[in-house]
Symmetry: C2
Subunit: 466 residues, 2 copies
């Protein structure tokens, strides 16, 4: 007998009449008065489970089958037949069901077959993949991640593995995790009494990166089209539904590209990702439509077919002011848009993903390219309804003098990033790139609001369990 | 005029007679007495550069073209014509060459067009992608990485993003980086004078993971086939050609699988990766064959076509003993094979990648499945000629009592991994997995010996530059 995944069987890879084996976890058991049991088995390969019919002639029927509860692990072998009942088209009449593992104390089993809150499930993050909610999210997360690679590879980008441990600090932000092997009880000190990082593993103070961008720019100036895709860190003490201390980000970077090229790639990539999910995860999306937000799939289809709206920061401010809406946060040209502004703009005024461009230079990072007006930089943020910012990007300042001037004006020491400045001294070229937060994108796709339910093991302040 | 990558042009995507634009960096300039210059332009999309012919009628011929040096950035537009000289089939007769960036002081430019040592290039890691050696390595690294995803996705595996920051310690090894936001000058202390990690970001002592395996096992027990693929960390003070403090690893994990399934997937994946490199990076492999090791491509072809040799640890010891070879390290049943043993076995005695199975339990990790003999565990290492271990894997101990007994015998506190043990209490199933070190695999493929030249920015003791 051949082994099939449930996904393969439901897709018709095995034929009616074939002897098949499926392996997975019991989702449900129902006993009929006629002396047989209906056992649905899920292996996580897709949303649906397959029904296995266990007749009481099975040798372990009375000793094991009738004791099966949710998430007992089984290996079921039998004949694939057309289904008698509604629902699925095929089911398996078992010749044998081997139980590789029962569930201890089903009544107190943490992910028993009742409805659990997402907060409760986070406390059992090692078992929550056994719920419909989390397994659907994670299959979609997989589809989205692979679609990102597919899109970028098909468009000539190379995946570059930039380091996570760094002594540089990309954004000039202070919210960094320190990485060390020093013994806290015997911290070495220099002759001024300061901690002597020369004795630390890397010989200097080291951190977890907040972005691979500066590093990947160096590879962009040799391979032309590159991207990073991996975990990124912020030691921000934020307990919101949109923040994680460890999250995944993809950061494409293109040489000889401007803000328009950047917008085109960001939009093309997002549409490709959305389309991949619609094509491959219809079953999971149907679940979200039923239990989370019924518009979730139609919204995604609209995104694939419509172009995103592009609006300059200056116009965005004008439209927000003109709307007459009262905001809690101040609104004026020059302000960093608050989440309420962003959401009102893209949810109410525009009604679809919105690309805001050309922000005031004061509120954006030092490496963003200054526009001719002297006031704004060639930056872009993509805002998604219900989620807010999912992409941040910019054309990079490729002019050595302008970049050094900007760093000095901000009180940065250009010598600390001499290697980054070298790119502007040796064969500089216009270039642009952006970062897409994976969790926020998948949150937008699924309608699942809290990014803690989008990543397998969320890391947030005071939470590093498992 | 349409923009093409050099790769597209050399692959015939643009036709002879087309007006084309290429953008990249000058690899070489040669002036002819006839008043024209031959400028080869590389954009990193493939190994080869394209020749651009600049006639002296170009408006910036005397002011700029004749001053072009290696790695000046240019945008060249012109007509694609059949090449007159040898080498490539096509070249471009320029209508214009715009220089977006010259190279300051070409004579002291760090990656000037002479031969540099790999040690020197590491000190200029931000520019070394502009060399043939590193750009070929990185294109192959990209191919290998994508091929890993392709193989696993095609075989029904889901990519799971396990956390890098953890409070668990997978292998029980002590070589961990600590992750903290505590101020070293004001370390909080509890009432016993110990550092009070409750006040640290995560509320407890936290580290960078040495493996995503334990975490991904939890997802395996729900999705059946999963893998992690990302950076991993070892704070090991090793200055060898095979060790990095931060390196990339792929870790597949399969439910209802044993050691034979594990070997089949590992071998299938490696062969798929090797084949992808042969199919897609022939130009880069030709470079390695010319400058590094002339057998590099034929060796890889052999790997794709031949099955790996499988030998038990017990047989391996016997064969090594019988060989009569003198080793520096002791050799007896029970010893952890030293690198010299592994290399002699796979390079001299076997002559191809070798899978060593069923190691003594004392030298392998606690979670590996104990064999019937009571002495060995269902572990496997794959050894590659010239590199040593590139894969380590095992069937996992899925039996709760056996696993707890093993942990206790090793002095581990089972309560510290209660979540991991839960997988054995609730629907346990046989499962197996392995880890492949990406750098070692690419080192094996390319013949480039030092893993510091396989990763963009190597992190090793006292080295965290860029």
């Amino acid at each position: 007998m051949a082994v099939f995944s449930v996904k393969q069987i439901l897709a018709g890879v095995a034929k009616v009449g074939d002897s098949v084996t499926v392996r997975g976890w019991v989702r449900n058991r129902r006993d009929s008065k006629a002396g047989l049991s209906f056992v649905t088995v899920s292996d996580g390969s897709c949303f649906d489970a397959i029904q296995v019919i266990a007749e009481n002639k099975l040798t372990n029927y009375n000793s094991e089958i009738v004791n099966l509860t949710k998430d007992c692990a089984v290996i079921a072998t039998g004949k694939l037949v057309e289904s008698q009942g509604g629902g699925q088209s095929v089911e398996i009449i078992a010749d044998s069901i081997e139980v590789t593992g029962f569930v201890e104390n089903p009544d107190t089993y943490p992910v028993s077959p009742k409805r659990h809150t997402v907060e409760y499930l986070r406390e059992h993050a090692h078992l929550r993949i056994r719920t419909n909610l989390i397994s659907s999210v994670m299959r979609i997360r997989n589809t989205a991640s692979v679609a990102i690679h597919d899109y970028l590879q098909a468009n000539g980008f190379y995946w570059v593995h930039t380091p996570l441990i760094t002594a540089s600090d990309c954004e000039g932000a202070g919210e960094l995790f320190k990485v060390t092997t020093l013994d806290f009880d015997k911290l070495p000190r220099d002759d001024k009494g300061k901690v002597d990082y020369k004795q630390d593993f890397f010989g200097k103070e080291s951190f977890l990166t907040v972005s691979g961008q500066l590093n990947v720019e160096t590879y962009c100036m040799g391979l032309s089209k590159v991207y990073t895709f991996g975990p990124t860190f912020r030691a921000e003490n934020s307990n919101t539904t949109r923040h994680l201390a460890e999250f995944w980000m993809v950061e494409p970077e293109m040489a000889f590209a401007d803000l328009n090229d950047n917008m085109a790639v960001a939009q093309g990539m997002l549409k490709h990702v959305f389309k991949a999910v619609l094509d491959k995860n219809g079953d999971d999306m149907a679940f979200f439509a039923q239990f989370i937000d019924k518009s979730v799939a139609t919204r995604l289809e609209k995104m694939v077919n419509d172009d995103f709206e592009v609006v300059t920061y200056t116009d965005a401010i004008a439209r927000l002011e003109k709307s007459g809406r009262k905001f809690e946060n101040p609104l004026y040209w020059g302000v960093d848009l608050a989440s309420e502004h962003e959401r009102f703009l893209c949810e109410e005024l525009v009604g679809k993903p919105t690309i805001v461009t050309n922000y005031p230079k004061e509120i954006k990072a030092f490496y963003m390219r200054q526009n001719e007006d002297g006031k704004t930089v060639a930056a872009m943020d993509i805002l998604a309804p219900g989620v807010g910012e999912i992409v941040g990007g910019a054309a990079r300042e490729e002019r050595y003098d302008v970049l050094v001037g900007k760093m000095q004006a901000l009180g940065m020491d250009p010598a600390s990033l001499d290697w980054y400045l070298d790119l502007r001294r040796f064969g500089t070229a216009p270039h642009a790139g952006f970062g897409l937060g994976l969790e926020r994108a998948v949150s937008y796709i699924t309608g699942v609001q809290n990014v803690r339910d989008i990543i397998p093991f969320p890391r947030t302040p005071k939470n590093v369990a498992f």
